[in-house]
């Protein structure tokens, strides 16, 4: 987070009524964050096709301000859409590290939740949370495109509870 957002709550909260300002700031910041979630256009396996169906005409997740970006530098949301293999794990970690903060991860489908159908395979990571911190899990193999839209709504709810305040 930027220097202003880091320091402002400290200074503001020391004034009387400052926490009110912080809460209002929270709302504005969270609202702008949740309304322009830009995911990385990145797919791993089967779920990526359902994810593409979300970009497509029927579901069209542009309605939520979700607009796929081709590079991690411009993205703040990554869908792990499919089986994460051990060969790919370090690459996904690197993509995640290249993304600007605040960044969110949605784990899509059984494979990335726990390994799914490949739970006893020698080359599959058993759940993407071994590599990345996950915000929302979607069950399904693959989940319907509507479920992906729901996960974005859930993530937006979660973002609205965030605060820049240092008082917990």
């Amino acid at each position: 987070m930027g220097l202003v957002l880091d320091k402002a709550p400290y200074i503001l909260e020391s004034f009387p009524g400052g926490s009110y300002v912080v809460t209002s700031m929270d709302w504005v910041i969270n609202w702008s964050r949740k309304s322009s979630l830009w995911p990385l256009s990145f797919g791993l396996a089967c779920c990526a096709i359902e994810w593409m169906a979300d970009v497509g005409s029927r579901n069209d997740f542009d309605r939520f301000g979700v607009f796929p970006r081709p590079t991690p530098r411009q993205a703040d949301l990554i869908f792990i859409s499919g089986t994460l293999t051990k060969k790919m794990a370090s690459r996904v970690r690197r993509l995640y590290e290249q993304m600007a903060e605040p960044r969110y991860v949605i784990s899509m489908g059984s494979c990335s939740n726990t390994g799914g159908p490949f739970y006893d395979s020698y080359s599959v990571v058993k759940g993407v949370d071994k590599v990345l911190p996950v915000d929302v899990y979607i069950a399904g193999c693959p989940p319907r495109p509507e479920a992906v839209l729901l996960s974005i709504l859930k993530l937006q709810e979660k973002i609205m509870t965030e605060t820049i305040s240092h008082k917990k």
Partner: protein, 138 residues
Amino acid sequence: MTKIFKYTWAILKGMGITLKYFFIKPVTVQYPKEKIKISPRWRGTLKQLKNEKGEEACDGCRICEKICPVNCISMEVYKDEKKNRRFTSSYTVNFGRCMFCGLCVEACPKKCLVHTTDFEFCTYERESLILTKDKILR
């Protein structure tokens, strides 16, 4: 010069097709407000049925547990001597691992395990993907 004309014409023709769709009904479904009709055969989360007496119909034959390709169903069975049949004391399905293949439902001899059309299953924690008997028996 003819080339420029050719290219422009091709683009205009494509634009014409796109413009046509401006006047027809949009295909986009406004998801949270309206939902498309999902087929009753949709393989969503699992549900256990009750029998006519209101108790669970499952008699703990363990076939679904055995046939599951990913071992996501686990159950514990006890025998009720009074009613002379078996009951499950716990029935857990790990939907984080389930591949929704429908083999368990197909194999169920009492036809008491069915799919629901529920697909909206998102959680914040991985543990919440595991459903216990109180959620499955409905």
